[in-house]
Subunit: 264 residues, 4 copies
Amino acid sequence: DRPLTLIAGPCQLESADHAQMIAGTLAEICARVGAQFIFKGSYDKANRTSLGGRRGVGMDTGLKILEGVRNSIGCPVLTDIHERAHCAPVAMAVDVLQIPAFLCRQTDLLLAAGETGAAINIKKGQFLAPWDMANVAEKVASTGNNRILLTERGVSFGYNTLVTDMRALPIMGRTGYPVVMDATHSVQQPGGQGNSSGGQREFAPVMARTAVSLGISAVFIETHEDPDNAPSDGPNMIYLDQMDRVMTSLMKFDALAKEDPMRV
Amino acid sequence: DRPLTLIAGPCQLESADHAQMIAGTLAEICARVGAQFIFKGSYDKANRTSLGGRRGVGMDTGLKILEGVRNSIGCPVLTDIHERAHCAPVAMAVDVLQIPAFLCRQTDLLLAAGETGAAINIKKGQFLAPWDMANVAEKVASTGNNRILLTERGVSFGYNTLVTDMRALPIMGRTGYPVVMDATHSVQQPGGQGNSSGGQREFAPVMARTAVSLGISAVFIETHEDPDNAPSDGPNMIYLDQMDRVMTSLMKFDALAKEDPMRV
Amino acid sequence: DRPLTLIAGPCQLESADHAQMIAGTLAEICARVGAQFIFKGSYDKANRTSLGGRRGVGMDTGLKILEGVRNSIGCPVLTDIHERAHCAPVAMAVDVLQIPAFLCRQTDLLLAAGETGAAINIKKGQFLAPWDMANVAEKVASTGNNRILLTERGVSFGYNTLVTDMRALPIMGRTGYPVVMDATHSVQQPGGQGNSSGGQREFAPVMARTAVSLGISAVFIETHEDPDNAPSDGPNMIYLDQMDRVMTSLMKFDALAKEDPMRV
Amino acid sequence: DRPLTLIAGPCQLESADHAQMIAGTLAEICARVGAQFIFKGSYDKANRTSLGGRRGVGMDTGLKILEGVRNSIGCPVLTDIHERAHCAPVAMAVDVLQIPAFLCRQTDLLLAAGETGAAINIKKGQFLAPWDMANVAEKVASTGNNRILLTERGVSFGYNTLVTDMRALPIMGRTGYPVVMDATHSVQQPGGQGNSSGGQREFAPVMARTAVSLGISAVFIETHEDPDNAPSDGPNMIYLDQMDRVMTSLMKFDALAKEDPMRV
């Protein structure tokens, strides 16, 4: 029942300077409000809605940026992987490997990730029930690696729409692994803008607060100083200059939730 | 931003004594924790899954029980109506008329309810989007009656399953009417037991807490001293002897939410 | 395994002349292609999306129009009812009483309809699983009236969207009652135009053909000579001058399906 | 508007003899009924519900089996791939590379598959709208390879359930690429048996017939002489000895549909 962890960053890594700026700002906020902080950045967006979507800086550059953040800010860093061959090299540079939602059933990727010994954050597929994640986590755990996090990011609800079932959080919690709420992607509207995904940035704090009120371990938020010009996920990212207010508020709910744990 | 209101009762009215016992217990809890209280009881369950489901004590007996509660406990009382001809007589005996979710698009019922001048609690249909409720409320408001409450009770999600989209609460709140979370029916599994509906009682407090953390006006909870033997909704009702704990906890989240309102 | 029945008409009754024109055209088409024909018209749209939607000609005028069609065309007529008190008078004038989807769980309406002895067409609620309709039909059958039809009209699928599960047709068929496919309302987009429902007229023939290929008893289609100016359901009604082509095609699939019945 | 193609096989390849038996039986049926035939077999099930699910014979053995079928039966063969590095070697041995539904947004896999010049069958993700597939196909087409097929296999509908929207077939058809109905996986109940997926074998012919009635290019069916003992997908596979009857029936609907094309 430690205080809330914030997993946050700019979605796509853009440059070392940009990552340092975002990470520094967030680390400072977390220090002030008493949250733990993990920096998140992607070096490759491997499943864009359409070919025209920007892919990212690539693995080599990305890992250098992430190591740079880790060294200068002193926070753990997280990135997502899409092929099993990437697990080992990426795990040398980062603390947490993230399994994307679409890939959460790919056995070889889960095993390769688990075998690195890094912490593994598995996003629940938009096509899965929360109880299905026990089998998914077991694939990683079979490698002897129990440093597993399970992330809710919404479930398919008709076309181009996701809904978050709050019951999913305590249900995934029954596995004993820390549960994370992805407040950014749960308000995504997949494919909702034709050639890219839409989103409802204004509801990200709603998702975060309701989830935190249940006493979860971490909240995942993508943030940018200028979301409308970010290379991906702009419509659902929170403005960086609002993160202080968001986190200040969330920590109050986190404290209350952890004083008053809900047993389901 | 007044403190949370609890709308609660035993689902079906069973007898005057039973109603008084439940209402008295809840009124006392609410007084202690600083919540407002509205007693809820149904005199007729007009849309049971199957013919074998118990219907209730009937209108005459039901209204006497409700008036009795109002007089002895001094709390407002709420009941649901299913035909427009019932609106006027029922409104003589109760403070709040409730429009059932299945009937929330029936124009004549909404108009007849509105014309009584009573407060009208409209449950959102399982088949509606939250933004559709503005048109529904407008039907009542067209009568000159603006004493309207809008209640979330889950939306259809595949077969025999409901899901609650937390975004629905602030979206309905944009109408300016008070928003209520029905923590009991949102965890119903409609038709899920073949000849009756199932439910997930253990998740009712999850629905209540997450909704209250958003600063809603009221929470709706059905409760019974022996849910497994209640004539309806047993699987999703909370034990009466747990209501004190549930309300004590909810009031802390309510206070925090109202200190720190979320603007969406 | 009789040939397909067409249940069709202009959604809302507009005038005697209009109803006669539509009914005459459809009766002629059905005679030519070998289909049975039931004329459908509503005298009251009791659950419009918003107050501004046109309600209809009213019961008295509507029943006279329907009787006129029955007398002059010689076909059975169908209309929908919304209150139990309407069942008896309406059943004097029409052959088939239709229970609207939103009202398909209202026990008293089902009983009152059943007691008239008229045939009862029950639309499956957008919030129900197909197997839930056995309990619904049983409410009518409890009156001794077994002249029951069960209609598929889509199930809620996210917000403002319906989907038709083709498995629903054989599942409802297991009750032994004739199964009807409503090709018009299954392509409705409920509330999808803000103050009214949208629709996808172009997909109505898709719904009809796929359902007929399974050997169902009847197809329900709303049609109008000028759908875009019809008082309701315009976006999903088929042009009257296309009904000949639609029915000619459907009868070929019907014949094949009934030669080659599918046992599920 | 060529006659229907059957894409079929035993889900997992088990042995050369088994594959030859299944392929021979199906080829003979297809020859008799006038259908084209593509043999399908998987050498690796890379995304089983749980670790305990059998993975398959592996790539080397699997490709030998597939080449054997191609040589002896003279039919094209199809298999699914899960990593981009597999595309080139697999394309040497098979005619059609299949992109699994979970992986249908993985840009690199689509590009690598397209670059082989083989035909590419892309399964629509359970989390995608049918119109989203145009962007997916475009990723393959960007390689200059237009030999693309698009397969419907159901969309997420609540938990552990899929539904097939028949509108998806003509919507995907608007791309100009051949459309395939996967009658086996569309009746899967993902994760529905706890540690494995359930299925509703009895509804596979319903999915096939309704889809074929719309004039699609191909139907995908998994079949086994003893489904209950098959290493995967048993609950939704059709018995091999029923395939003759199923195909005989489907070809009648195919002929009618192609005489009477539906323009949407």
